[in-house]
Symmetry: C2
Subunit: 361 residues, 2 copies
Amino acid sequence: MRNEAGGSGLETGGSGLNTGDSNLEAPKTAMVGDRTERELIARIRARLPPAPPWMLVGVGDDAAVIEPARNRAEVLSVDALVEGVHFDRAFTAPEAIGHRALAVNLSDLAAMGAAPRLALLSFALPSSLPLDDFDRIVSGIAAVAAHHDVHVAGGNLTRSPGPLVIDVTVAGSVKPRQALTRGGARANDEIYVSGAIGAAAAGLQMLGGAVSSVSSVVKSDSCINRYLYPQPRVRLGLLLSRNRAASACMDLSDGLADAVRQVAEASDVGAIIDAAALPIDAGARCWFDAHGDDAIDAAIAGGDDYELLFAVRPRLRNRLKAARASGIAMTRIGVFTADRALLVRRPGGDTPLPQGYSHFR
Amino acid sequence: MRNEAGGSGLETGGSGLNTGDSNLEAPKTAMVGDRTERELIARIRARLPPAPPWMLVGVGDDAAVIEPARNRAEVLSVDALVEGVHFDRAFTAPEAIGHRALAVNLSDLAAMGAAPRLALLSFALPSSLPLDDFDRIVSGIAAVAAHHDVHVAGGNLTRSPGPLVIDVTVAGSVKPRQALTRGGARANDEIYVSGAIGAAAAGLQMLGGAVSSVSSVVKSDSCINRYLYPQPRVRLGLLLSRNRAASACMDLSDGLADAVRQVAEASDVGAIIDAAALPIDAGARCWFDAHGDDAIDAAIAGGDDYELLFAVRPRLRNRLKAARASGIAMTRIGVFTADRALLVRRPGGDTPLPQGYSHFR
């Protein structure tokens, strides 16, 4: 079990790659159930770059051994993707599944203002998963890892008698006093959100819904792409934490409403969201309008955007300039309040903030 | 998703406990599907001790923030338990499932000679899992955590449309040059194993097999207990690493044969195991004998023992004295060799080392 791939964990360079390559010529119908655990691990290693010097022991031993980043606190998070809950293999390419598995975790590090360093991958694999799909999932993970300079330090492979499950643990680093928590907002802090919202929720509907004449007209590749390939706001998170521009931060994995509620509760404040200010993705707005849905409600409640929600003290607003280097839009969408109510301000009056997505009830 | 439990991660003390307790009076038929994610997280927190000072941000934020141990490398490992693969709820008490989920991970840290510090818990839960079972699984984890001074720093809860999956990531620390890898054995190093072997494999057969007149006579509570509640050799691993008594180390999660093979391959050596020297559990030997199985073969191939296999240079043998403080027996069972063959020496002659358990083929 676990990190076994034969060979010492320190030897992840050229020889490891060769071991992997010798296994790549598999017939197209091959499934993971036809391969040993060691062969599957070799296929993963074949898709990874050499280990960095701070990885003292990497893939291939009972555990990974890591040199901590100097003068930094460590930031750790875990998140799982479960087939049938978080993705549907019928309309999600294997690369997109792999991309998402790592990206959603990096989004958590981004929300803490942490620089990502490494990931541990734990797969529960149905025996009938095509080997080619497995390779493509790993390639999707490897591409996100390479983009964000994250190194796979180890993991675990096991069979699943049910759905495909990918559990990813990520570790990053942050200066201890610069970590962005959910609990730092105060009354009168302004509420910002990065990028645009609603696109991923619309994209998911576009992928999964029944085809209609309306749907085919207003489908947006951009929304579908936003759903399939979420982009964690790692650089923005780093910039917001370095000069303490943000007093609190969280990612929108479960939607804007959920994030506003969580930050407000953790900070003992209320919030008023200005509906007119919300940066709703144009393609998503078109989609929701065409289907008779309220675009504001849909964009507030919809999940999977992986943007950042953050609080900014009014007198520190000029610190946000530094964060513009991320190239990501930042929109002021409301204010935290001493009154604990959570409201959406609309032309017709204030309405309660809707509930976010709940996994169990 | 993830660490959400409302409230700042720093506030894990009394108030967190009260929040949890208010949810404990559930009807007996309640299932996890009847509860929100937040309620389930509150139930976990209610079973955990207060966070230690080095946990700067714990459960309840996007990620945990940890102060690294001074002058130590960090050791990370992940392992998953999948219902139907690693346990059967029909004959495994929920506490035992929780115990195992953390214990098998701590065994990996033990094999590296690392001191455990923290764990991240990721659950994929069937909606129909009784809430009481969930609580008992968490209690099983909490008991092992308390015993080894491991703190839960965060985690993730999600639904599973299939089996129960528990993914645990553990982090520990070790002095960089004291980490015990698989690759450090040399020819003529003596091979040792801790404790006794075969008990867990026999225990699993006792639990899962058909009842027969033979079986009922030779069943052993001790073997069943060894299977259900594996004891990670954390203290022994620490003692073996501190004075470098061991030149290589690995745990027996997948059996003795697998461990010998992995260490030999990682160290570029062969091995001869002396069958007569193997510390086979007496109850297991009785069970295998009664069923006409070769006790040596069964004990070598059987998994789940979570003992440590380690190599000792002959001239450093006296360093093992320090490790006796662990109270765990250490038995010399063979020798690593320059010849790459992997052999079991028996009265009738040498036979090839059997294959260990393979998860996919």
